[in-house]
Amino acid sequence: METVLGWVCAYTPEEVFAALGIESFRLCGGENQASAVQYLPVNLCPLARACLSEGLDNAGTGASLSGVVLTASCHALVHLANAFQHARGGNGQFFVHLLDLPRTFGREDDAACRAFAAALRDLAGRLGEFYGAAWSDEAFLTAIDKQQQVRLLLRELYRMRRERPEQFRAAGLLEVVRAAGRTRKEELAPVLNSLVASLQDAGSGDNWDSAQDGMQDGGPAAAVFLEHLRRQGSSLGPRLLVTGNSLPPAYFDLIEDLGGNVVGDDLCQSYRYCLPDTEQTLDGGGRDLFMTLARSYLRRPACPRMLAGAERFAYLQALIRECQAQGVVYHTLKFCDASIYEYALLRNRFMEAGVPVLYLETEYRDAGLEQARTRIQAFLEVLGPPTEKY
């Protein structure tokens, strides 16, 4: 069985893994959280518990985990690293690393960038030692380049979804992004290229069959992606932005089944993955590639744990305008402090700005779908149809 390195947070620099030739796999967790029961208490983030179960069971990976790199983003991920170490790390054959991720507090901070660069350099050293892989700046630049290509192509899918939400299935887009975190970028880029080109050619009509025909270059993977992305039925319901914490796919489908159109999101398993714009040049003067990468990651719009509340609100407002969203769905995972506390702040700001918000809490599984149905339905009714056809 192939071995891969697991990771979770969108701030994880896959470029470092790729530069070292290490296969990596983004853990997203599934419905089953049973294997986590003996390590993590029930009042800890369900995403962390689900990822632990996925990692311990090798569920869905099609490969065996040889280690994990987790960011010290929050105490749930810190304990996820502890749990992997506790369950697997005893014999020194399983790599567990907790990567320091500085908080930016909404400002450009050189010291934080330097600290993150040092943490990335340290990670590269430790990975190289554990996997017996040699570091090469050239391979690093190639990895940065490929990763950037994939991100740009994914962003193009988001742009098309924003323009034609009635044709795109939001959960399908989530699945494509999740797959991007589990696939070699040099293999994924041509597939996404073909997918994007054929969807562009298909235009705004309901021409998905012609998109399928025009996609020979992408092979079967592109066809599968296309099928995932294709929304059954269409709707001219309200346009929504989803933010907060990772929303399980079934809830995206539910929103769309009830007539909502997800036109944008700010979720770490989804659009946020596509955001860092990495400079593909050596850092001016210092020739420090790690500093370049650190800056790129820390400069992107902050997530709730970064303690950049005012900047995040400004960013979300811009996103709402860009997507022409009529309302916001704020999703929190039960016991996720970063999003729960942020909601208390943003709720008032959205209210003052006249943006309707639906607060949705899940346990990162489908169990609460029926309760959510009523709340989403009521919210969509309040929003009414879009003010104009897009």
Binding site: L40, P41, N43, N82, D337, A338, Y343
Partner: protein, 434 residues
């Protein structure tokens, strides 16, 4: 006879009067009088001294005698003392609100302000009191990211509410020399910003003096902890948990150093059989416990039950002095090292190692992990800690509960679990005796 809590409850019985009562100098004059009258009733004179210190500082904060800065637990508050400011711990205030019996209604206000019941009840209580305008207005809010995800997030929200700056420390998990310098740099920046915001002159000599006081506090508390190794225990750990105010607010003040020195002397006298009531140790010590995390503040039933059944908190995780001596000549580096050296902000194996060491040192019979519902840091690792310590031979009870919110748990269930645990300890003792 009136006690301090009874007096405060009486003063604050009408919530509409809270702000008037709390911001009136007369309240603190009266409180001082009540404290003096009750001096002889305190289990330790150092507790009385701490009460005087805490109420004086609270009065200073509410009456507005000095710029108030809020400080989250484990933030190196020496920075505030070094600028002559008035540090205020909303977390300690939340515990006191719960002790007075106002926790439920205050938390409800926090929940109405948008804070879910899944977060830390200390924070819901703070959010509620802040939304009602019951807390002293901060000139700045100081928070550290290392041991609590919630506090800096809450402080960010409340900074927006009060229109005051949040000065936060980003603490890396790995403590390399570069990381220590990174934190030291932030500490200096926070100190300068704090001086600027509050209109104080950043005086390095004053900061060195605060660090010197903090070091005296550290050394005295270490002395206290050494004395507590005695069997039977010379002091109640439940009482020792009351000194949390000094740990969270006092470090860097002259008063905290003096109170710690007084406490050490008092315990020394007890050990030598010279305690004021001739008491040399806890009267009925059947089981020695190591207590992890905090305790319920909304009522004293659990702790009373433990003590009545002969349980003694021989040592508490929160009383452990984990940091090395501070150097007043290098205040920022010293405080950076102190902040980063907390054993709970390391792989969980480190918390396990420290607890096992304390369990051996204090010759405990069992370990209780009080798992405060909203604390991801402490309760997140509880199951792994339990397994590892049990493998080392310690009976461990993970007791799920809440420090502030008594609404969602049946106290009876908690007492039953505690009773069963004490019975196990009893059986083990009998087994040893046979």
């Amino acid at each position: 006879m009136m006690d301090v809590e009874g007096f405060m409850r009486h003063m604050l019985w009408d919530r509409r009067r809270w702000n008037r009562v709390l911001s009136s100098p007369l309240t603190y004059t009266l409180l001082g009088g009540v404290l003096r009258l009750t001096r002889g009733n305190w289990p330790l004179d150092a507790m009385y001294q701490m009460g005087v210190f805490a109420f004086n500082e609270t009065g200073r904060a509410y009456v507005g005698k000095a710029p108030v800065v809020w400080s989250s637990a484990f933030f190196p508050v020496e920075l505030a003392w070094g600028l002559g400011l008035c540090p205020f711990s909303p977390e300690v205030a939340a515990a006191y609100i719960a002790t007075l019996g106002f926790g439920e209604e205050t938390m409800s206000m926090g929940e109405q302000a948008g804070y879910s019941r899944d977060i830390c009840s200390f924070h819901r209580c703070i959010a509620g009191a802040a939304s009602a305008g019951n807390l002293p207005r901060p000139a700045a809010l100081l928070a550290s990211t290392h041991l609590c995800d919630g506090a800096p997030l809450l402080f960010q929200n409340l900074a927006a509410l009060y229109g005051a700056p949040l000065l936060a420390l980003d603490i890396p998990y790995n403590s390399s020399p570069e990381a220590v310098r990174y934190v030291a740099g932030q500490l200096e920046q926070v100190w300068l910003s704090l001086a600027d915001v509050t209109g104080q002159r950043p005086d390095r000599d004053k900061l060195a003096e605060a660090v010197r006081c903090s070091e005296r506090f550290r050394a005295q508390m270490q002395r206290v902890n050494e004395l507590r190794c005695r069997v039977p225990s010379p002091v109640s750990g439940n009482d020792m948990l009351g000194f949390i105010y000094l740990f969270f607010v006092g470090q860097g003040s002259r008063e905290a150093a003096e109170i710690a020195a007084g406490l050490a002397k008092e315990i020394e006298r007890r050990v030598a059989g010279l305690g004021r009531s001739g008491q040399t140790g806890t009267q009925t010590e059947k089981y020695r416990l190591l207590w992890m995390h905090l305790k319920p503040y909304y009522n004293n039933e659990l702790m009373k039950f433990v003590e009545q059944d002969g349980g003694v908190l021989a040592m508490e995780e929160f009383s452990h002095v984990y940091w090395t001596p501070l150097d007043p000549e290098q205040p920022f580096l010293s405080l950076a090292r102190k902040t980063m050296s907390h054993f709970a902000f390391k792989p969980v194996t480190e918390r396990i190692r420290v607890m096992a060491e304390l369990a051996r040192k204090y010759r405990v019979d069992g370990i209780v992990h009080f798992s405060h519902h909203g604390c991801r840091t402490a309760s997140g690792g509880a199951l792994m800690i339990k397994e590892a310590l049990r493998d080392e031979g310690w009976p461990v009870l993970v007791l799920e509960g809440d420090c502030i919110d008594g609404r969602s748990e049946a106290c009876g269930g908690m007492l039953t679990r505690m009773q069963a645990f004490l019975e196990i300890l009893q059986e083990r003792k009998l087994g040893c005796a046979l």
